[in-house]
């Protein structure tokens, strides 16, 4: 330790997650995009048929389309998760909220006799189904928001409550069954095609655009970053941090509701015990890959979207290449670590130095 020469000035490579948006010479989104390109390049070279896209029955059909389709739930979740993380929080309940919204929608449509929702008859009205399911998700978000922003419970514990109880409530709604349904309108959400592209992808694009407009078009993004970077300073400048946080948790839960509806509609059933399980980790991973600081502050919605696509590309690659299930996780681990190193300015610097030394 060269403590004697330690300078009072801020360290040039400020360590620690709270360092904010310093040290980024190129735009941060370059790295996740590059990672995505690398993965795709690998497939172009080594996975035959990965890039082939056919038209079957008026729909595009191919692995790339699968990535867009299957990547949607995590992509949608990651939008909300990014905002929550930016305020210095975390939302573990998104998977459970997905199950909750899905269970509500499925039971409203199919009305199984042992479901408590049996009494409600919405006559298969799609707007009502969507409205009620998303309202349930919204309530979940308000619950999280009140605990975190109002009662100042640590976000990880606050959202853990709903992570555990929410899935229980979803099972309560379906009475532990997997209610399946037939409803062409609702099925379109997760299984339909628009202009040859899967409809979930359209939803994802719309949500990303909407969120970008909301966050970067208004001062919301700035305020969120301020709260995440330095809550005390934010309070002193008169930002209502509580209201802001509440909003972020509500947005996160609403988007989780949307993701839940997509998944439920896609499999035409509400698989409450499995819907969205462990997706909270994927959503956080997407945000982290996209360059959002996990301790709060700096965030990038577009980065998270790319991050979600990176994760799905990896999954689809593994499936397309027929990797043994036991190996899947090891490969995922190596890719995650490689991605980390790839994004680290320090690691890149070291690599450049090594390459330069060898070149001499």
């Amino acid at each position: 330790m060269t403590a004697g020469t330690a300078s009072i000035l801020p360290a040039p490579e400020a360590p620690g997650p709270k360092s904010g948006a310093t040290g980024w010479k190129v735009h941060a989104i370059v790295w996740p995009v590059l990672a995505l390109m690398l993965l795709l390049l690998f497939n172009l070279l080594f996975t035959p048929g990965f890039f082939s896209i056919e038209v079957r029955g008026g729909r595009l059909f191919g692995s790339l389309i699968d990535i867009l389709n299957r990547g949607t739930p995590v992509l949608v979740l990651s939008m909300g998760m990014t905002l929550v993380i930016a305020t210095g929080g975390i939302d573990l309940s998104v998977g459970a909220v997905m199950a909750l919204a899905g269970a509500t929608a499925a039971c409203l449509i199919s009305r199984p006799e042992d479901s408590p929702l049996h009494l409600f008859d919405v006559h298969g009205s799609l707007p009502l189904v969507l409205l009620i399911s998303l309202a349930v998700a919204l309530l979940a978000g308000v619950f999280n928001g009140i605990l975190v922003a109002g009662l100042r419970v640590q976000p990880i514990v606050a959202t853990l409550i709903l992570m555990v109880a929410g899935r229980g409530a979803a099972q309560l709604i379906t009475n532990g069954q997997i209610p399946s349904f037939e409803h062409p309108g609702f099925e379109f959400i997760g299984g339909g095609f628009l202009l040859g592209l899967p409809f979930p992808f359209t939803i994802a694009v719309a949500i990303v655009l909407l969120m970008l407009l909301l966050v970067r078009g208004t001062a919301l993004g700035l305020l969120v970053e301020a709260v995440g970077n330095n809550p005390i300073a934010a309070r002193l400048t008169g930002i209502n941090a509580a209201a802001l946080k509440l909003t972020c948790y509500v947005v996160s839960a609403l988007l989780a509701g949307v993701a839940g509806l997509i998944v439920t509609s896609d499999i035409k059933a509400a698989d409450v015990s499995n819907t969205g399980q462990y997706l909270e980790l994927d959503a956080i991973l997407a945000a982290a890959i996209g360059g959002t600081a996990l301790a709060g502050g700096r965030f990038s919605l577009l980065g998270s979207a790319v991050g979600a696509l990176v994760i799905q590309t990896l999954t689809t690659t593994i499936l397309a290449r027929g990797v043994a299930p036991e190996l899947t996780l090891v490969i995922k681990a190596l890719v995650v670590i490689a991605l980390c190193l790839f994004q680290s300015a320090k690691a890149r610097e070291l690599a450049f130095r090594l390459v330069a030394r060898r070149a001499q």
Binding site: G49, G176, S273, A320
Partner: protein, 320 residues
Amino acid sequence: MNSHHFLNRLLISAGVGLALCSVSFAQEAKKPVVGFAQVGAESGWRTANTKSMRGEAEKRGIDLKFVDAQQKQENQIKAVRSFIAQKVDVIVLAPVVETGFEPVLREAKAAGIPVILSDRRAKVSDDSLYVTFIGSDFIEEGKRAGEWLVKKTDGKAVIVELQGTTGSAPANDRKKGFADAIAAHPEMKIIKSQTGDFTRAKGKEVMEAFLKSPEGKSITVLYAHNDDMALGAIQAIEAAGLQPGKDIIIVSIDGVKGAFEAMVAGKLNCTVECNPLIGPQVFDIVEKVVKGEKVPKRTPVAEGVYDESQAKEALPTRQY
């Protein structure tokens, strides 16, 4: 810190505590008490199993202590320990995995509480640690699926396999049993085998990937370790413009209602039944054990293999 303030808060919390315990119920005496350590509520099959057990206990006036382990072995061990501490009369255990229950089963034996294994076997070095095992044989199920397929395809098939959760007992055994059954037929080949985690969504996603692989067009058979994955895969096959049940023959395991509906619609060819409705059989044994009667070490469960031809007839009788 104002100590007066603190005392106030303490009193409030004590009040909440008292309010919570005032809802307690009085225990009736002399009903046999049975502790049931269930795996979880991860599938429709499991829920049907739980329902069968709880319904039967209620019918017979048995006090059933039910604990859902949420697919975690450590939770299940805690549950069995708790049953021992509660001095229940009989413990029914549906082991999450086959190993790892020996120490806690020893404790149960030392406490003089008989244990009935249901649904899944537990590997123990000493058979006297449990009274009987009642449930399905996963290897046998995989074998039956394989044998049905051999007959159906005359020993010629290009097979893709959707495995259950990697490392879980049903996935291991159903894979093994199936592989054994087709081993003698060199023209039956499993070209792809991936895990679909026993879920519909994963089954669909993995099947999509199978169909898009270069060998995708040659697939003639899908073998799924459970019905849920098969039901998901059917959607993927349809989305690829193929006819499930015709272009690709599908065989799966469990025999849930949805599978029968799919068979009636001609989208699924065969399901090997794995019967969850074993409540009556289990409590027959429980009552015998309480009376001190001897029971055989293995209690088989009535199970069949159903294909399309029998589906329509059987569908109305399916309870799960």
